[in-house]
């Protein structure tokens, strides 16, 4: 029908961030064994404890199997065909400021629309940019330092604050947690580290931009955020990757620790290369994100997932402390042959804990989009509450949407609510907006953004605008 023809046209829009940066980079040969892990650890000049930690993870990983319970078709991954270390080859001394950064690299960021210098001045956003595996520039660090806030690359934190790493690394996502988390623990390259001291409210949004550039490299970043008692922080990550015909693996781990009374807001705008129209290439985004809340703490995940060939991701909250709060706001958009199986886990352990889940799935093309969520109420979690709302929006009739809610309650006082809807963009809605002079692309984008409003409004202002544009771009060509 007319609508489908239109929808298919918007889908045909090409990926905008598909350029490759010509940079000399230092990689190791493909393959994975203990020597590779030692090489990575040595390259990064890591302390012994971390090497041991990696090796332990690796040995456990060898005993594990790739998970197959998700509603995903994943071609077998040859882990020996991946290079586990790639760094832009720069002068021996890593750049100390933006002036020392390879101009080619900075141009890459500009193409991505994140001119670091401008962001520094205009947005008041401190950006820790991770390019392949090495963090190239950390802005605003000094300003944050004044308040005792640590915001740096993970590698730097390993050297400057080994005690914090030792104390918290792997406490939320242990090395044995799951296949991809174990792999990450063994070979992780870099990532971001944040520590907010007691009672400090971080004065600006902290932001990291990830980008996978080199061919055949997996990116395994590791992020650890610790919000000490009664502190507050808002963190945003954005991701893009160039177009390549091969699939690339991205297996990240993010751990959040919200100590007593602390609050962490973690927002993601994920726009990895989704593969072409026929499903060739694209990022495998297999990510483990989890936070732990102590008494009266709050962790809020907001994600807008528009990229990747396959997304396997369940940002979760362990509500260990009494009166703690977990939130998950998600938009997952799939187009063409993209697949997403994403959702959250809210694990209620403390008393009077509450969680909110708002998940919006948009499927177009021949894509598959699944929400998978677990709400678990432990036996001591008196008066726990959860509210879950899952809405699916279908564009055309060749895509699919699924909802897999799991609820386990061991405490009778728990209150759990679940709502779910599935709808379509109707011809009537499109015609109405077009009759008001609005182009078909803008009409679709408007309807989709309206559908996602509950989630988008949780993003920090400047990124909400970006996310809205992204939703429009990702659907361009799918109607017309």
């Amino acid at each position: 029908m007319a609508q489908n023809a239109e929808i298919h046209q918007i889908i045909d829009k090409e990926y905008e961030h598909g350029f490759v940066t010509e940079l000399e980079s230092e990689s190791i040969d493909c393959g994975l064994n203990e020597d590779v892990i030692r090489f990575i650890s040595q390259k990064k000049n890591e302390p012994e404890f971390l090497l041991e930690w990696r090796l332990k993870a690796y040995r456990h990983w060898l005993t594990m199997k790739s998970p197959n319970w998700a509603n995903l078709n994943i071609a077998p991954i040859d882990y020996q065909a991946i290079s586990y270390y790639s760094a832009p080859k720069s002068k021996k001394d890593a750049p100390k400021s933006l002036d020392e950064v390879d101009p080619e690299l900075l141009r890459t960021y500009e193409k991505l629309g994140i001119p670091l210098k401008e962001q520094e001045m205009l947005a008041g956003v401190a950006v820790d940019a991770v390019f392949d595996s090495v963090s190239v520039a950390t802005t605003f660090k000094d300003k944050l330092k004044e308040q005792g806030i640590i915001f740096c690359s993970f590698s730097e934190a390993v050297h400057e604050h080994p005690e914090l790493i030792k104390q918290y690394l792997g406490t939320v996502v242990p090395t044995t947690d799951n296949f991809f988390a174990s792999l990450n623990s063994a070979v992780f390259s870099d990532g971001s580290f944040v520590y907010i001291p007691k009672g400090v409210r971080c004065p600006m949004e902290l932001s990291t931009y990830f980008r996978i550039n080199a061919a055949n490299t997996g990116q395994f970043e590791r992020t650890l955020i610790i919000a000490d008692e009664d502190s507050q922080v808002s963190y945003l990550e954005g991701c893009t990757a160039p177009m390549r015909d091969e699939n690339q693996l991205h297996a990240a781990v993010v751990e959040l620790v919200a100590l007593k009374g602390a609050s962490i807001k973690y927002s993601t705008v994920q726009n990895w290369y989704p593969g072409d129209k026929d499903g060739k290439g694209g990022i495998y985004n297999f990510v483990t994100k989890r936070g732990e809340c102590h008494d009266n703490a709050k962790i809020s995940w907001t994600q807008v997932e528009t990229g990747s060939a396959i997304t396997w991701k369940y940002p979760s909250v362990i509500l260990r402390g009494d009166n703690s709060i977990g939130e998950f706001y998600s938009v997952a958009l799939t187009n063409n042959l993209q697949q997403a199986d994403t959702g959250t886990k809210m694990i209620h352990l403390g008393k009077n804990t509450s969680s909110t889940i708002i998940a919006k799935g948009i499927s177009a093309g021949r894509s598959q989009n699944a929400y998978r969520g677990l709400v678990k109420i432990g036996k001591n979690a008196d008066n726990a509450r959860n509210f879950t709302q899952c809405d699916s929006l279908l564009m055309g009739d060749t895509c699919s949407a699924h909802t897999f809610p799991y609820i386990e309650s061991k405490n009778k006082s728990a209150k759990i609510e679940h709502e779910a809807t599935t709808s379509r963009i109707s011809d009537e809605q499109l015609f109405y907006l077009r009759q008001r002079g609005i182009s078909i692309e803008d009409s679709v984008s408007m309807i989709v953004n309206g559908f996602c409003k509950q989630v988008i409004r949780n993003l920090p202002m400047e990124f909400a605008v970006e996310a809205q544009k992204l939703l429009g771009i990702s659907l361009e060509g799918s109607v017309g």
């Binding site: 007319a2 009759q435 008001r436 002079g437 408007m446 953004n449 309206g450």
Partner: protein
């Protein structure tokens, strides 16, 4: 401004419009009346460019341009406005957002810059005052949870903001109580001017008490059966549609 000659339209394999001739000149108000299923809404939709209608014969021009080659949004930007019989709900999108986007789309067509946010708010508030609409209307989702009357009033608000060259009002009077009808009619009359055309598609005479048409056409069985001045509407009111088929 609008010229339709021998327009024939199929939906599926059903022949809904069987040769319509209609000319609307600037400054004129035409009323198209007819029983249910006569093709009134089809005619409105076809003029505005909705998908799903198959034009098998005939010509349709607006400001001397062939309408059939234009997308609905292009027709709108050139000044063609359709007030919907059943305005659709669009959750999560605020009225003000749509109003501004629609106005700016038209301004772009006219070679104008986007309207200043402050000027826009002034303008839209003055239009709302004319229609006796509350300001909180602006921040509600498009037509979501609106009563029938609110939806129609919202259509008229959009129309008065966009100031179209040709407005087609499809059953705008249905679902309105008498007070709302008067307000809506005033809105339509304000648009009325020497350079604009208006088509009122309606079932009943009562709107025509407030907006006096220059011409009345009776549409039945896919054809205009009879045309005349406003007295024709009164005749219809008395004798019903059954009497006009001779």
């Amino acid at each position: 401004m609008l010229k339709i000659e021998n327009l024939q339209v199929n939906v599926g394999d059903k022949n809904i419009l069987q040769g319509i001739d209609l000319e609307v000149k600037a400054g004129e108000v035409h009323a198209i009346m007819g029983p249910n299923g006569s093709g009134k809404s089809t005619l409105s939709n076809v003029i505005a460019g909705k998908d799903g209608y198959d034009i098998t014969q005939g010509k349709m021009t607006f400001l001397n341009q062939d309408l059939t080659t234009l997308e609905p949004e292009d027709r709108a930007r050139k000044g063609l406005f359709l007030s919907f019989q059943y305005p659709v709900e669009i959750p999560g999108v605020s009225n003000i957002y749509l109003l501004k986007a629609a106005l700016n789309a038209k301004r772009a067509e006219d070679g104008l810059d986007e309207i200043d946010a402050f000027d826009f708010l002034q303008l839209v508030k003055s239009k709302m005052a004319e229609l006796k609409m509350d300001e909180d209307f602006l921040y509600r989702d498009i037509n979501s949870g609106f009563s029938g009357g609110e939806k129609k009033r919202n259509e008229i608000l959009q129309m008065s903001l966009l100031e179209p060259k040709l407005a087609i009002l499809d059953e705008t009077d249905s679902g309105l109580d008498i007070d709302a009808l008067k307000i809506v009619a005033e809105g339509i009359n304000r648009l009325r001017s020497a350079d604009k055309g208006i088509i009122l598609v309606t079932h009943y005479q009562r709107l025509l008490d407030y907006v006096q048409p220059d011409f009345v056409h009776v549409l039945a069985k896919g054809k205009i059966q009879k045309s005349g001045d406003k007295s024709l509407a009164l005749t219809l009111e008395k004798s019903g549609y059954a009497g006009i088929n001779d």
